[in-house]
Symmetry: C2
Subunit: 211 residues, 2 copies
DNA sequence: TTTGTAAAGTGAATTAAATCACATAAAGGG
DNA sequence: CCCTTTATGTGATTTAATTCACTTTACAAA
């Protein structure tokens, strides 16, 4: 295959495929066809084959994909053949729930540091052992802990300033939970999570389908 | 305009526009052009005009959009000219953080009931006054409280069974936080929220841009 | 070894979405 | 009252993503 632009949607689907493949592997299944995998993921079989074809040939014609190998290959494509250290900014309601959550570590994401601006929280120790640092120590701690991803769980009003601090500290990947549109330079990649947009979409569907 | 299929992406953008418009309104601005709004939302101006054109004509040529009116119109399009009662299923880490969060009510989403299966939690009262019901009382409570949306915040292993119960209870809108692909009938609309997919996307970008 | 079959890989066709570019309409000033 | 400015609304165009349909290849059974 030549040099195609890879659709972002394809990247996101790779994550979905991994989830399904890991589940199948747990069930002891060794090999799967694009057709069966597609059914499980709710997509078109050709879609799976094309998504994978952007990166190489991973299947065996007439047989299917060896699950163990495919998981490893996709993880390599996505950069998940390593762990990623994450900084949590804003240890409130949501931030502490995320840190407490055990699922991230299973996928190689490690909360390696936490930050807040509230004097009552600074210095406190979280259940998992992390100490809450002052946001002004961000740059120092990011270096020390080799952090590459920042999660913004502050109020929306602080989101842009926190993003700026992250970028100065050399963090180029941001997961933003605040309902704010943050501006970052080219080098930085931001993903936004906004539950209310999802709820709005549900509300739209319920309204238009006569419920 | 005739009868175009409306892209789902357009619906999601309407939510984004509302957020921006509400912010502008707070700043005392009355009227805005598609160009300025587009800048703020990080999209193409023609995109905004086209998205709105699916539903009618809301602007004034040569002038722009009256912000107050446009907010009202978009809310009506999305079905946000009312409140929506929500049931939280699974009052754990994440579920309780969501219930505690004040932002949903501002957008007209009300947590009207909470459910769990853990005997230690059933009957307990949450900070906001809600009592945690047993999941088996779902159908009854859904009727009593006029609930139309269910939020699944249980472990992935319980997600499908909870979804089934929601549908039997007559809930046709589901926001699913569990990392599971749930199957529902045509009449039901599901939105999935999976943070690890977003993290995977960040990892991919960091890996491929030589960081 | 040969042959039948299953399923990956892929160029072509289709479908969908985003953007352009211009005709159109409102507002304001001379 | 007309002319200029401005920004919407939209058909045409471009770009992107998905799906189809066929070719290729590996394997297994005879
Ligand atoms: N909690 C939820 O369920 C939920 C759901 C959707 C969206 N969100 C969004 O996530 C964000 C966090 O929500 P929350 O409920 O945890 O809020 P919260 O108020 O409980 O926590 C916010 C934390 O950020 C800290 N903070 C404020 N400014 C800061 C700064 N400049 N640097 C570092 N820390 C700072 C505060 O001290 C506080 O501890 C908000 O933007 C909210 O809109 C939350
Ligand atoms: N906490 C997070 O930050 C986070 C992040 C991403 C995804 N998730 C996902 O959200 C879900 C919930 O996460 P959590 O951290 O809150 O887990 P949790 O274990 O803290 O809470 C789950 C709750 O669901 C209840 N439950 C289990 N089976 C049930 C059933 N059949 N009916 C009703 N209630 C039931 C449990 O009793 C428990 O109270 C999980 O699927 C998790 O993977 C959580």
């Amino acid at each position: 295959m030549k040099f195609p632009k890879i659709p972002m949607a394809a990247i996101n689907r790779l994550s979905i495929y991994i989830r399904a493949l890991e589940e199948l592997e747990e069930q002891g299944i060794k090999v799967i066809s694009s057709e069966r995998l597609a059914k499980q993921c709710g997509v078109n079989p050709a879609q799976i084959r094309k998504d994978l074809a952007y990166f190489g040939e991973f299947g065996v014609r007439g047989v299917g994909y060896r699950i163990e190998d495919l998981i490893r290959e996709i993880k390599e494509i996505l950069g998940l053949d390593r762990t990623w250290n994450i900084a949590m900014i804003g240890v409130g309601n949501l931030g502490s729930a995320l840190i407490r959550h055990g699922n991230f570590i299973k996928h190689g994401y490690v909360f390696a540091a936490a930050f807040d601006i509230d004097p009552h929280k600074i210095g406190k120790r979280l259940p998992n052992g992390l100490i809450i640092h002052h946001i002004d120590d961000l740059e120092k701690v990011v270096k020390e802990c080799d952090i590459h991803i920042g999660v913004i769980a502050t109020p929306a009003s602080a989101a842009q300033s926190v993003a700026n601090q992250l970028i100065i500290a050399g963090v180029n990947g941001i997961l933003n939970f605040a309902p704010a549109q943050i501006q970052v330079p080219e080098c930085c990649h931001v993903e936004n999570v906004d539950f209310t947009i999802k709820l709005d979409s549900i509300a739209y569907h319920l309204s238009t389908s006569g419920t």
